[in-house]
């Protein structure tokens, strides 16, 4: 039997954008706590969050063809609270309301109250974890059916979200970018944690079943190897880590605050985002099912 992935790049974009939007809001909340003076960056996060999640939701609806053709059916989505997807719909809708409220307050030049920022941050975490749990409960696929995936998607969501805020701020607000050292240090750690999580996921999955082994092999030496090593590992994780180690710890302060260094940082953030998408895409398409009657591999 040949197996075709059930979901493809549209769902990968959705998982990526939902995570990125959630991460961007969490970054804003972090900024208001540790860098209250970084007002513009905070607003950038508030702007990215609903846009990214909104685009993701549209993609999700387009992929759900029967619902797209009969939109009234989407009201049924709260029909089964045993389903992770129903929970996701709740998290996503409440998150969207909070993110849009923050955005409107920013536009009206009114302060965003701390409780709203915190509520949004908690919801952002729920959204990010949900994107992993969504796949995680599918017992058929060893690459998904484990407790690491929600954590991995959470870390990647925070990392891509922070990268989107940092990269956007570099374009026109270099001086503010120079002043958010704590955020940058946190952001620098995330790809390293993510790398550890990806490696743990692969190590454990390859050992738990033939299907797990085959999925991991498809990633590390099979048909997804180029995207995995070059795209995810190098461009998305190791490259940004090397650039940031150098910029944060081994370059002179004058250089770190120069425009050239800013654009190098931009490059590293862009890499993080490319890696974030590839992570979702590869996990979605590389997962192979457990055998039913006859061993598949």
């Amino acid at each position: 039997m040949t197996y075709e992935p059930i979901w493809g790049s549209i769902i990968a974009w959705y998982l990526f954008l939902a995570g990125l939007g959630a991460g961007a809001f969490a970054t804003s909340a972090f900024l208001s706590w540790r860098h209250p003076e970084a007002v513009t960056m905070r607003k950038i996060g508030h702007l990215i969050a609903p846009i990214a999640v909104g685009i993701g939701l549209v993609l999700l609806m387009v992929d759900a063809e029967a619902g797209f053709a009969n939109p009234q059916r989407f009201f049924l989505l709260l029909g089964n609270f045993g389903s992770v997807m129903s929970w996701g719909v709740v998290f996503l809708s409440v998150f969207m309301v909070v993110a849009l409220a923050a955005l409107v307050l920013d536009f009206l030049k009114r302060p965003v109250p701390g409780w709203l920022e915190n509520a949004g941050a908690v919801l952002a975490l729920c959204v990010a974890v949900y994107t992993g749990a969504l796949l995680g409960v599918c017992q058929t696929f060893p690459l998904w059916n484990n407790a690491l995936l929600p954590i991995l998607f959470l870390v990647s969501a925070l990392s891509t979200g922070a990268a989107s805020v940092l990269a956007t701020s570099i374009i026109r607000h270099g001086e503010e970018f120079n002043r958010v050292g704590v955020l940058k240090k946190f952001h620098f750690c995330l790809p390293i944690i993510e790398l550890l999580l990806v490696m743990s996921l692969l190590f454990i999955t390859q050992s738990n079943s033939e299907a797990g082994w085959a999925s991991v092999m498809a990633l590390v030496s099979g048909k997804y190897a180029l995207a995995f090593w070059l795209g995810l590992v190098f461009v998305g994780l190791v490259g940004p880590t090397i650039l940031e180690v150098w910029l944060l710890f081994f370059s002179a302060k004058e250089f770190e605050e120069s425009r050239l260094a800013h654009w190098l940082s931009f490059l590293s953030d862009a890499g993080v985002m490319v890696g974030g998408f590839l992570l979702r895409y590869l996990i979605v398409v590389a997962a192979l099912p457990l055998p039913v009657a006859v061993p598949l591999f």
């Binding site: 197996y3 029967a66 029909g79 017992q139 058929t140």
Partner: protein, 180 residues
């Protein structure tokens, strides 16, 4: 209570695919959609070799993962224990396809909804209509349909006599039993 189930004796299956063809005709399916798929393999060692063909379709699981993940309630278990999809409710998110361990759900590109075996064999079993389901179409009589809750049913007797088992262990309390 009625709890429908089926036995498939693959030792008699010749791999003619008549069940799939009958199913497609009975359910008005396009040629590229099938509720029955097949797994096969060579068995034994030379010179005593054989070829095993195993028809696989919805197992009408009692612990149905497709039902527990379906966000809209479109997938449900009816009073006869048959797992169904209400196509008027389905949004086509394909979550059930990812959750089904037997990979038997199909996405209908025309309606966008997800479909699968409906146990239409129940209709002629109950005398409700003329069907030519997989059960009637099988040229070697591999399939027995019946009520698992009726201890005297042909189905239960055959399951006991032939020692039939679910295809992949008791992962989901499947209600199709196989003789291999």
């Amino acid at each position: 209570m009625t709890r429908y189930g089926m036995l498939i004796d693959t030792t008699n299956c010749i791999g003619c695919f008549a069940c799939r063809t009958a199913c497609q005709r009975q359910n008005g399916l396009a040629a590229n959609i099938d509720y029955i798929r097949y797994e096969d393999r060579e068995t034994g060692t030379f010179p005593n070799v054989g070829f095993e063909v195993i028809p696989i379709q919805c197992m009408h699981c009692e612990d149905a993962p497709c039902v527990s993940v379906c966000p809209t309630g479109a997938s449900y278990i009816d009073e006869t224990g048959t797992v169904r999809v209400d196509e008027q409710k389905c949004i086509g998110c394909k979550y059930c396809m990812a959750a089904c361990p037997y990979l038997v759900r199909v996405h209908n590109p025309e309606t966008g909804a997800v479909e699968k075996c409906k146990f239409c064999a129940a209709e002629s079993f109950e005398g409700r209509g003329e069907t030519c389901s997989c059960v009637e179409a099988c040229v070697t009589g591999c399939r027995i349909f019946g009520d698992l809750d009726d201890p005297d049913s042909d189905l239960n007797k055959a399951i006991a006599e032939r020692n039939a088992l679910p295809i992949a262990g008791d992962r989901t309390k499947a209600k199709i039993f196989y003789v291999r």
